[in-house]
Every structure is written in structure tokens, then in C-alpha cells.
């Protein structure tokens, strides 16, 4: 059950604050100092930075080249296809590959660690919610 839904016996808990953030050592903070979390975070940041630079930066470079070096982009490759048009199609391929890498990496390297850390957070905060670590039981159909 989500804590987004207020139960009838509670006042509407709107302000998104951490109820325990006044005490010194909270579960969130101790998870934060966990070496596994640090490596998870660094890995995530590195991957996000590299992949964004590759797909978005690559596209901006392509725009720059098209504008300021049209001679290179106009080299014919086959028939009417020029280097510029081929690179444009290549953008779509790069995006597909990036998305695939992202999903595979998140599934194999990120999710298992994140699930473990979530389970730890739940252990350190007893009596709140019991569904943290269990993966969602619900299976989605294709539609």
C-alpha cells in the first residue's frame, strides 16, 4: 500500500517531509553512508552522464556540423544518400542502442543492489511498512 493515500483516521499528510529527519541518525542517512550505496550512486551517475553526453551531445554536435561544415555532410554515399542524412538516421540507431544498454544495465546491475538496500532500510525502520523489499507481486499483461 502506498503512503500517498491518506487513511481516514489520519489528517491529510500533505507536506512531504521526512518525519524522522530531526533525529540524528535516520535510516536514509545510514543507507547513504553504506559503501554499496556509494558505489551504486557513482555507477548510476557515471552511466547517466556518459549516455546523455553520447546521445544528446552527439546530436548537438551533429547539428553544429550540419550548420558550420556542410561540405563534410554533403558527401554522397550511395544514390541520394549523403553523409549528413546517414548520420541523421544513425542518431535513431544510437538512441535505440543507448536505451537498450540503459535498460539492461539497470536490470542487471542497479536493481538487485537497490532492492537489497531497500530491504535494509525497512529493517532499520520497524513497524512502518512491510512491503518494501518484496518485488511487486503484480504481473502486467502486454496491454
Amino acid at each position: 500500500m502506498s503512503n500517498y493515500f491518506t487513511r481516514p483516521d489520519e489528517p491529510p499528510a500533505y507536506s512531504p517531509r521526512y518525519p524522522e529527519s530531526t533525529s540524528g541518525s535516520t535510516p536514509g542517512r545510514s543507507i547513504h553512508d553504506h559503501p554499496e550505496f556509494q558505489s551504486l550512486r557513482n555507477g548510476y551517475r557515471r552511466f547517466a552522464a556518459v549516455s546523455t553526453a553520447l546521445s544528446v551531445g552527439g546530436f548537438l554536435l551533429y547539428v553544429l556540423l550540419s550548420n558550420f561544415a556542410p561540405g563534410i555532410m554533403n558527401q554522397p554515399l550511395a544514390g541520394r544518400l549523403t553523409l549528413g542524412l546517414a548520420l541523421g538516421l544513425g542518431q535513431f540507431a544510437v538512441m535505440g542502442v543507448t536505451a537498450w544498454c540503459y535498460v539492461r544495465r539497470m536490470r542487471t546491475q542497479f536493481d538487485p543492489v537497490a532492492r537489497g538496500l531497500r530491504a535494509q532500510a525497512e529493517q532499520r525502520r520497524p513497524g512502518t511498512q512491510s512491503t518494501y523489499g518484496t518485488p511487486s507481486a503484480r504481473e502486467y499483461r502486454a496491454w
Binding site: S2, N3, Y4, P12, Y14, S15, P16, Y18, S21, G28, R29, I31, H32, D33, F37, L40, Y44, R45, A48, S51, T52, S55, V56, F59, L60, Y62, V63, L64, S66, N67, F68, P70, M73, N74, A78, G79, R80, L81, T82, G84, L85, G88, Q91, F92, M95, T98, A99, V103, A114, L117, R118, A121, E122, T131, Y132, S136, R138, Y140, A142, W143
Partner: protein
């Protein structure tokens, strides 16, 4: 430009369009009312059904993301300017990668109903001021983009009837606006989601059918299509070379770069798109949904490219320019030539439904920001009951819809893309820096957030005011006066760095405060330890 009516649509397809549009509207209105939120729960009104499958979520995201500007405007741009138009379509797709790689998962893990909730969680001190600034930006972006959609509906009507009389114009805007208000205020997010999905399915089917017909005409030989497009463009190989639209001078090249920056960084930060990211309950579903949406967006953009090239190849560039110098008529002319009246009617109905769906999403995003951020958290300081906040949200949807209609009627002659590009520029220079800094920068504080939100907003609006869009050229709003000292039409290349710089400056100029809640926020944003 005046003699448009006869060229694009014959009476048969005009009537067919009308019947089709009416039936789609009636069906979706009933459906929206049936699945509208039953209880006084804000979560249901803001987020809709949180248990939807990835494909349906992905369709809804794709529906929110692709507006009629993509279907008509970008395709027309391809038909008129070839290579430069294709670059534009490519940018639309790349922008979605920002959502997938950087924004989607941390935002959903740390967010709740609006972007304001994420910021309030991240910056507990000074949260109210940040929320006010954020809602101001959200409202500005939504209103600009909403007015662009409504003005677009008038422009679309122009394709059918010639330049409409003021009564027809008013009627068109009021009817579309009213339907949008009903979707948003009664249907809430469930209703908006439903029409987004209907629209996305229609859009994908429509462009697929048309693209298949074009390719079939050329025996699935892309080179033959390119050949015919170059031959019929009247300018030969230059059609497939960069610089046709933006290559006249260094200024216009910079202008194009500025536009691409605003598109790539701004589309990802549009409020109605971000709101949709918060809906899925589990991270896995969100990830699959965003990947589905990426595939669908990429597919529609590729198909739109084929349609644009096909329009030049089969209709001829000169004919398109004769009908509508901006090129918006290209798709409809192409449909007329390959599929006759039926396909024309289908695609024009599709364009109207697209307008309607995006406008509904925008109205809802603006209403949520008004009701949740401004009323719930700032005016009532979090003490409003759910029923109260819901009432305000519905009222806000009506108010924003009416405001949008009034502004659209006042400015119906404005260029649709000018309004949309300004909205992208504001999103990229105000919302994106704040969002990225708060997700990834430990020291970021509320002073920085305020500066980057307000600074980005003011900077982009001011730069447009002193640009050729407003004065000094024959096509600007005030052609007689000249106060255009900023040479570019798109402010992005200056205002986006300015937004990031101001956020950084505001942060480092503040003395270090007590330990921030960033550690806890970061755990939640990455691991989702609190959100599921």
C-alpha cells in the same frame, strides 16, 4: 494564402472530418466522464490509474509528448526545407532520451503529485517561495503552449474554410476550449489519460498508413523517394543539403542551434510530460513505459519524415508553398493526393484530436500546479482537505481553459511555433536547471532554485521581447517599431546557460546552512526507499 480552402479539402472530406471528429469527441467525452475520479481523492485526480500496464502508459506519454505541431508543422518543415526539417524531427526524438536517462526514475522516486513536491522535499527551508516561483513558471509554460494549441486549431480550420471570419474563429476556439475544460476538470488525470491513449493510437495508425502508402508508391525504394523529392522540390540537390531554412547567415545558423538546444532540453521538462512520469507506482513499470514511449516517438518521427519527403515528391514544393507558405498544409495535401478524401478526413480529424489531447494535458498540469502548489501548500499551508483541494483543482482547470481561450482569440494571428518555442525555452532554462541541480547537486539550496526559476523565466521572456519576433521585421508583431537588439528568434542559447549559471551563483553565494536533507533525498531518489 487566402485561397486555401479549395485546395486542401473538398466538401466530402470536410463533412467526413466533421463527422469523424464529432464521434471521437463524443466517445471520449463519455468515456472520460465514466472513468472520472469517483471519490474525493487528490491522488486519483492528479495521477489517474496508477496500475496501468507499461504499453498503455507509454502510449499516454507519447500522446502527451507529440503535439499537432509534430504532425503538421514538422512534416511541413520537412516538405519545405528537406534536411533542416529532418534535423528538427531528429531533435524531437533525442529530447525523449533526456527523460529516459536522467529525469524519469529519480523524479518518480522522489516526487508525488507535482514537481513542487520534489522541490519541497529537497529544499525544506524556503519551500514556499520556491513553490510560488515554480508554479509561476509552470503556469507560464502551460498557458503559452495551450494558447499555441488553440491558435493551432484556428490555423487548422484555415486549411478547410480559408481565412475564417471572426465568428467562425471564436466558435472554433470556444468549442475546442470547452471540450478541453470538460476533459480536464471533470475527467481529471483518468480522463486525460484516456484521450491521450486514443490519440496516440490514432496518431500511430494514421502516420503508419500514410507512410506505407507513400513508400508503396515508390516500391519501398527510399532512394526513389529521395530522387522524386529532389526533382519536385524545384531546387535540386540543395533540398537534401543543410542550410535551406537556417543557413542564410551565421546569425540564422546560431538561431537554429538555439532552437535545437531549447527543443532537446525543453521538451523533456514540459510540466505535463513530467506529471505523467509520476503516475506509475513501480519503477519497473515506469522504465518500461518510458522505453515504450521512446520507441513510439522515434517511430512517429521517422514516419513523419517519410510523409514530409513524400509530400514534396508527390505534391511538389511549389504547390505546398502556394497553399500555405508555412507548410502546415503539406500532410493534408499529400493525403489528398495518395488517399483521396477519406485519408484527408482521417488525418485532419487526427490533427484536431491531437490538439485537443495535448491541450487537455496542459490544462490539467496547470490546474494541478495552481491547486496543489499555490492553493494547497502556499495559501492553506498544507491544511486543506482533499475535497477542498480537488474543488480548487477543478475550478482552476476551468479558469485556465477560459484564460487560454481569451488569449488565443486575442493572438490568433501569432505564429504557433513562436509560442511553442518560447514555452520550450522557458522549460529548458527555468525548470530543467532547477530539476537537475536538485536531483544531482548536494549543495543546491532554495536561493539557487529561486534564482534559476525566476531568472530563467525572465531571461527567456525578455530576450524574446527584444528579438525580431516582436519588432523590426515585416513578420513581427510590431513591424513598425524597432527595439530588437537581440538578433536571434530563439532565446535558448543564452537563456539556458543563464538559468544554469544563476542556479549555481545563487547557491554558492549563500553561506552553508545546517546539514541539508540531501543524503536522505538522494537515497530516496535512487533507491526509492520511501516511495513504493
Amino acid at each position: 494564402m487566402v485561397s486555401i480552402g479549395a485546395g486542401v479539402a473538398d466538401p466530402f472530406s470536410r463533412q467526413l472530418t466533421f463527422v469523424l471528429f464529432l464521434s471521437v469527441v463524443v466517445v471520449t467525452l463519455f468515456a472520460a466522464l465514466l472513468i472520472a475520479p469517483q471519490r474525493d481523492e487528490v491522488a486519483e485526480f492528479y495521477l489517474g490509474n496508477r496500475e496501468m500496464s507499461p504499453l498503455r502508459n507509454g502510449l499516454a506519454m507519447c500522446g502527451d509528448y507529440l503535439s499537432a505541431a509534430t504532425l503538421l508543422g514538422s512534416t511541413g518543415l520537412v516538405a519545405l526545407t528537406g534536411y533542416d526539417g529532418l534535423l528538427y524531427l531528429c531533435g524531437t526524438t533525442v529530447a525523449w532520451m533526456m527523460v529516459l536517462l536522467v529525469i524519469a526514475e529519480p523524479l518518480r522516486n522522489s516526487g508525488r503529485f507535482t514537481l513542487g513536491d520534489t522541490l519541497a522535499l529537497r529544499l525544506p527551508q524556503g519551500g514556499r517561495a520556491v513553490r510560488v516561483a515554480l508554479s509561476l513558471c509552470t503556469l507560464t509554460i502551460c498557458c503559452l503552449y495551450l494558447v499555441a494549441q488553440l491558435v493551432g486549431s484556428v490555423a487548422l480550420l484555415t486549411q478547410f474554410t480559408g481565412v475564417p471570419s471572426s465568428t467562425t474563429r471564436t466558435l472554433c476556439v470556444v468549442v475546442i476550449g470547452t471540450i478541453v475544460i470538460v476533459y480536464a476538470s471533470l475527467g481529471g488525470m483518468p480522463g486525460a489519460t484516456f484521450i491521450q491513449i486514443v490519440k496516440a493510437v490514432m496518431l500511430i495508425c494514421g502516420v503508419t498508413v500514410a507512410a506505407v502508402m507513400v513508400l508503396n508508391r515508390f516500391d519501398w525504394n527510399v532512394n526513389a523517394l529521395l530522387d522524386a523529392a529532389t526533382d519536385n522540390s524545384g531546387i535540386g540537390q540543395r533540398f537534401l543539403e543543410p542550410g535551406l531554412r537556417y543557413g542564410a547567415s551565421t546569425t540564422s545558423k546560431l538561431d537554429f542551434l538555439s532552437l535545437q538546444l531549447a527543443i532537446v532540453l525543453g521538451l523533456a521538462a514540459l510540466p505535463h510530460v513530467m506529471m505523467r512520469l509520476l503516475a506509475p507506482r513501480s519503477t519497473n513499470v515506469l522504465r518500461s513505459s518510458v522505453v515504450w514511449a521512446a520507441g513510439l516517438v522515434g517511430f512517429v518521427c521517422l514516419a513523419a519524415g517519410v510523409l514530409g519527403l513524400g509530400a514534396t515528391a508527390l505534391v511538389g514544393r511549389d504547390n505546398i508553398v502556394d497553399t500555405d507558405p508555412k507548410g502546415d498544409a503539406a500532410v493534408l495535401l499529400l493525403a489528398q493526393s495518395i488517399g483521396g478524401g477519406v485519408l484527408t478526413a482521417l488525418l485532419s480529424c487526427l490533427a484536431f484530436v491531437t490538439l485537443l489531447a495535448v491541450a487537455a494535458g496542459l490544462t490539467l498540469a496547470a490546474a494541478s500546479s495552481l491547486a496543489h502548489d499555490l492553493y494547497g501548500e502556499v495559501v492553506r499551508k498544507g491544511r486543506a482537505t482533499q475535497a477542498e483541494e480537488l474543488g480548487v483543482a477543478r475550478l482552476a482547470a476551468v479558469l485556465i481553459g477560459v484564460l487560454g481561450m481569451a488569449l488565443a482569440l486575442l493572438s490568433w494571428e501569432t505564429n504557433v511555433s513562436t509560442l511553442a518555442f518560447l514555452a520550450f525555452a522557458i522549460a529548458a532554462s527555468a525548470l530543467l536547471p532547477t530539476l537537475l541541480y536538485s536531483l544531482f547537486w548536494r549543495r543546491f539550496n532554495s536561493r539557487g532554485a529561486l534564482l534559476s526559476l525566476c531568472g530563467g523565466l525572465v531571461c527567456s521572456v525578455l530576450l524574446v521581447v527584444v528579438s525580431p519576433v516582436v519588432s523590426s521585421t515585416p513578420s513581427s508583431i510590431y513591424p513598425e517599431s524597432d527595439f530588437a537588439w537581440f538578433p536571434l528568434q530563439n532565446p535558448g542559447i543564452v537563456s539556458i546557460p543563464a538559468g544554469f549559471l544563476l542556479g549555481w551563483l545563487g547557491t554558492v553565494l549563500t553561506r552553508r546552512q545546517e546539514p541539508s536533507s540531501y543524503e536522505e533525498f538522494e537515497v530516496r531518489a535512487l533507491v526509492g526507499a520511501d516511495a513504493e
